[in-house]
Symmetry: D2
């Protein structure tokens, strides 16, 4: 647990004619793989008949040629990648969630976390619902289906369901004939719309997925908006829009989203460069070279270098061949692990005063090892700059900020953290500047840094609640 | 589709102390593997906390050392093997079904088929239930859970649920603290109880699973009985016992069950020998040697040989190395496939008049190829004897008798079938004698042979009903 | 190590036109799989260009669809299955051995063991040869190639090579244009010739491989014979024929060969039945039923039953689902392992005096467990009959008879062995009758039973000689 | 075939005491993985007994926990990674090559290509040698072994063998008691020596492998040098040193070696930066941003930016999740493939004049696609700079420069190539400056650029010579 993780990536596509949409999902999910590496899934809708394949593993492992052939052609499709804690059978929580109800089919792919999940689930269970997953996404499916029994259409059911859901959610729902995207009124996580010359319309967590399928960015789904696509084209239900202040997760810019994505109108790469520039202004430094920790610190390092005038250099080579089955060194050699993954370029740092930029500091252990590598390679000074403020508070909106006792910044001064990670100076981006990262966007959730929660935290925040048994 | 298949094997174990019950399930499921080869699953209950692993594949493939370690020790466990049609993701229907309800945990493993599944499912869906599988077993889980909301105990909920379930079911349910077995009032499929010197109590589809775990047969679960095991020991709810006439599936004796099992008090091996003896009496024949088709025809062949006085011989060698990944010969060589799997022993049949005994004849194609092999090997005459009557009617109780147009006996005289399979004479066991197969048991369902259904067939018998979508 | 193992199975095919000979090899190797389960390999010769695939594993695992496609069509092919001791990289010794020499291509598949391997290998090494395997087969390849440098043809080289090879060998060699089979002058192991209506000619270790590819048995390769097939048809070099007395391994009849094979003119199944008949005459017994240990004891059990007049019964059900990845029970449960693989049929043995027939007794441990199972199942007496004499001496001709200290019969009386395996009486086939097993064959090697070696044993019999290093 | 490939990476380690050298090899091979991805192998020497595992695949796939356990501890070890053309059974050419000769054990790992391979192989074959591989490395093993029969020691045999080997070779040989490194007199490919505080001594193709095992760089192996390590420590045979002019492959600096390696005294990263600086001087340009093609063009792009004063930017995001099993888009979508792997960052290039730096241009197709991506992303001008001169001539020394008809620069002017790849201007590094890339090194082979071969090219340059058959 060396970093904060996003919990999901979502993609949906509607085509006016039967086409190989499974391949579109496949390439889009590759582009979204950084948002979740635990499981992946695709549902293809061929004239109202759904075929789904989902499993634990990376997109490339889950979707073999045989599977792609099975999924076949269709006129709509939904895809999902999921991050989650390890387990022997993570397939249980894989998405899309497919519901084969007598009132209609549904496939759901969701990103986010509800704050009233426990209350909703208990209420549903007492009315006869049975849950098979430990994720919130299944609760959303149940709420929609129960509304569907009372509503005339699936989009009406989605809109009614939103009255009952609190917290963060960006999801795509596919029925027999419609593809629907919804984003919570706070707009915690991104969702955008794209189009392609062949008439296809897509929803995606990030624009990089649109690029991957040759589509053009149309616009973002607004916080609170429900967007429907069917044979009559694109239309919107904005009855929940404007109900809350926008509070997009600022860590989407700092780390989660891919640098080549544009989120709510602002380039992620530029936001990171701006973080570096702010850092250069907030925490200047006499040094000879600015380097970033690959890959997450590189953009901000360039920003720091530009604003400070200190030259940018390549400080580390990352071993790109280390995959899933890499054998971890034995305990005594664990110190070497960082070096195997990340080797310093002596030519860049030897005899130099180095500014080291990374996106954030969580537990501090990896950071301390990286600093030691630089000193071993001959760096005379190491000045650490973090393009995120210190992590201090839990997140309830779909990311996995560690518990406070594991956060190196919790209950410690900057000087204490500086000494723990062994640097000559340490500077964090200020919360104030974190709110200014994006050129064209305003309204961020920075609760993990300052504790200002945009909506009420859950009463029972224990995430493992749904895994525990209950005594009879 | 060369044979009739059973749809499941079930096992449950209760131990007074924490023990390696996952291993017991593993060995028991090996013994029951003949009842289902599509998927396998085990749930272990460690002090009210359930750990489950289930997947497509044979027991040996699904349960690796890592999985067994994950399952760990416990004081109760449930296991299941399932037969089903192929598909890219058969894992969807794997059992046990685990329900993590706020009123209590439940793991369910089921063998059988409901005749009112469609009606129950629609009613449940209109009350908000969502189904993820296409099997009847999930319906049973929902009915029990809905009763559980109204009842004071899980055993009461099971008993109430049985009022709503029509058709064939033998299932094991595990709650936080109790292990419960139930068998439908007709007793379509077997379920027995075993004990072990260490105080463990088991439920199993067949006694061979008890042997595999070193247990002793105690008694059969009666048709309609609910048997409960918990820290207070074994007790029984017989409120549904005697409600119907017993109608055990006769094909359990003829083919499904393993010859070393004892079902409802009668040895399966002896029942098959008796089938052979009846055949010798009903359809005598002048011949030099009696051989059986391995493995299912061997027991009856011995019976035929004993009663007729014609010597028994080994007629075929079965290739035991042909497994899951065997590459089927190309179409033009398909004729050779039977020979690769089953080679005649010329020394036994050359120049001989041969009586060939098999358990049954379904489509007749494999049978015809086997007969051709014998003639090629030098048999001068081949007299076929089937220890089942001709298949003529569909089964709605948990086996997969083919549709009538595929059954070779449908709309054909015995002479016509004889000519199709190319034998000199053909004799089937009579329905009358089928009812006398077991020494100590009476009351059989022989509906697939005579059309006498012990309970009302389903209104919508289409098995793929739950896989289809519904237009919005 | 519960049984004696054969070390190889060999197949070769010549076709007058390009054909799918890889498939023929595939099905033939399936039929020969019982002769070796460690590795498998096929070489296809397409107009003088060889394509080979060989790997550790069963035929079915080694040859996937992709591999079969790669092998493609050809006009000659050679296949091999190998038994060997376990190891992390058994692929090293997989065959066929392919040699791409500037004087010509060669693919070699061999069954047997040389008695002068050490001497030959050292001589070759001192003349510059390098060896990559630990098997004798590579030595044969080197000897042939060195002769080839001096001879005008590959068949002349094979014949010259035979002057240098001592011990047991049956091999097939394929050059660019010829397919050649050779069998040592003692004829230790079988090799036969088959033909097919399409003009193909095959060599195989056993006739069951001919059956598997739709071929007809033509004749056996004689001890000492070299048989050549090429575009000019079949011809023979008999210059080594008759040099020695024939000494076919008698254990080919008792256990190695498949019962449906005919070896050197005699049916294997009949030979085993005769073994049972001899046993009934040598060691009669008052009993109620005769059963065989599946699968190797069944044929002899029928012979015992027929000659003694005691009824034959099915005593055990063998679990056919236990494969390569079966998880062995923990040490404490090891006793159960035999029961999981082999469950007694109580209906057959309960309250009965049982004659138990198996092909042989090696260490006695498995035998003792099987006897215990029978007694647990209610057998009142167990009389063991072995259709092989006691193992007492090492084999140097291609099988792996255990070292003497592990052989239960070594240094023990029949009564002592009887007590160890826990039976009421024990009878072995006599060596004298072992020599009479086959109807039409004479001249057996029974050295493992009586120590009469047909040719000089190796000076350095250590089989691991070639795996050890040598100090510089 | 979009790039030039190195053919191997080599590692050897000697430890004064038994240690987990397999793990050292594992981590070293990870660091050398970029030098070969086809197969990997390790031999461990435990007191004169060798254990080897090698197979097709990446280091991580070949070495599982079970394999590492099998390899175990030892006092010497050798490792190898290999690049090669695809094939169904690339395991055939995997190294190290292990020879278990009666005069001594040997394990050999080799990088390079002989120019007299055909002559040597034919001569050896006519003296009785048999070859199993198609690689030159086996020839080296045979030459050493044949010399060993005449020499008193393995190191003398290596030195004598070098008299017979022409071309490029850097290899490590391990005997029972000695570890020996040799480098051809031209020094085509690198080889360095490292030491560790625990007394271990290592040979490696690159210094990054020393870093990965916590070792310190001692010195490079000189062209023509033989270095021996045994219990008496490190010693050198320099009888071949200085026989030729040094001609290190210049492409080691431009592309093959890892940027964090130091080759023959010069930093690879700095050499690439210098290439960028030379390009800025040779081919200046009016532009707004300098970007590199990840990962191979990044170092040179920084050099270009520094010298030109044009800002450096991040132009592309490379998808790091695309692995071995990625499903290639269908032909019609192939255009998208580059985009899926490499997405431009619009924020960096939109409305900008872009300098695009890559290490080299081979066929030009990938390059053209990358340029199109930049234009689609809004770049107004694209100026391509290649830090290698144009490829024009075949390489015979261990790399796989494509055949001339596939090289875009062959028979074309710079302007023609510029138009093919669709850029506004195109500039290559000059051959003259290529010779000045390294600070501390002189003497390069630039034959692929200028046709000046440091030694005679092979008479029969056909690389597939050893795969073909020979008619009898």
């Amino acid at each position: 647990m060396n970093h904060i993780h996003e919990e999901c990536g979502v993609f949906g596509i509607y085509s006016p004619k039967q086409a190989d949409l499974a391949s579109d999902c496949y390439y889009a999910l590759f582009a979204l793989q950084h948002r979740g590496q635990e499981s992946a899934g695709i549902t293809v809708n061929e004239r109202g008949r759904l075929r789904t394949h989902k499993d634990a593993g990376l997109v490339e492992d889950v979707f073999t040629k045989d599977v792609m052939e099975y999924l076949g052609k269709g006129n709509m499709a939904v895809g999902h990648v999921r991050y989650g804690t390890a387990g022997i059978n993570p397939v249980q929580n894989a998405q899309p969630i497919v519901v084969n109800h007598c009132k209609g089919l549904m496939s759901l792919a969701h990103n986010g976390s509800l704050t009233n999940a426990s209350e909703l689930r208990e209420e549903l269970e007492l009315n006869g619902s049975i849950f098979h997953m430990t994720s919130d996404s299944e609760i959303i499916a149940h709420v929609i289906i129960r509304e569907r029994l009372k509503c005339g259409s699936i989009e009406a059911a989605v809109s009614k369901a939103m009255d009952r859901l609190d917290g963060a959610y960006s999801f795509v729902v596919m029925s027999s004939t419609k593809l629907i995207a919804a984003r919570d009124p706070h707009g915690f996580h991104p969702m955008c719309i794209g189009t392609r010359p062949d008439g296809s319309i897509m929803f995606a967590s990030e624009t990089c997925a649109l690029d991957a399928v040759g589509a053009t960015f149309l616009r973002d789904v607004q916080p609170g908006e429900v967007v429907i696509v069917d044979k009559n084209g694109l239309r919107s239900d904005d009855s929940h829009v404007g109900k809350c202040d926008k509070s997009l997760c600022v860590f989407e810019y700092i780390y989660f989203a891919r640098p080549d994505s544009v989120v709510d109108g602002s380039s992620v790469h530029m936001a990171r460069q701006r973080a570096g520039s702010f850092l250069a202004l907030e925490h200047p430094c006499n040094a000879d070279v600015v380097i970033g920790v690959p890959d997450s610190g590189l953009d901000a390092a360039i920003g720091y270098a530009k604003t400070s005038g200190i030259p940018y250099g390549i400080g580390f080579i990352k071993n790109k061949y280390i995959g899933r089955t890499f054998i971890q060194p034995t305990q005594s050699d664990r110190e070497n692990l960082v070096r195997i993954k990340l080797n310093p370029v002596s030519a860049t740092v030897k005899g130099k005063r180095v500014v080291l930029v990374d996106d954030s500091i969580v537990r501090g252990t990896t950071c301390a090892r990286i600093v030691r590598l630089l000193r071993d390679a001959g760096a005379t000074e190491v000045h650490m700059r973090s393009s995120a403020p210190p992590f201090l508070y839990p997140c309830y909106f779909g990311t996995d900020v560690d518990s406070q006792e594991n956060l190196v910044a919790w209950n410690r001064t900057v000087e204490e953290v500086r000494d723990i990670i062994g640097v000559d100076s340490l500077g964090y981006l200020s919360c104030e500047n974190a709110h200014k990262l994006a050129e064209n966007t305003a309204g961020f959730c920075t609760a993990c840094f300052d504790g200002n929660y945009p909506c009420t935290p859950p009463k029972t925040p224990d995430k493992t609640r749904f895994e525990r048994g209950v005594d009879e």
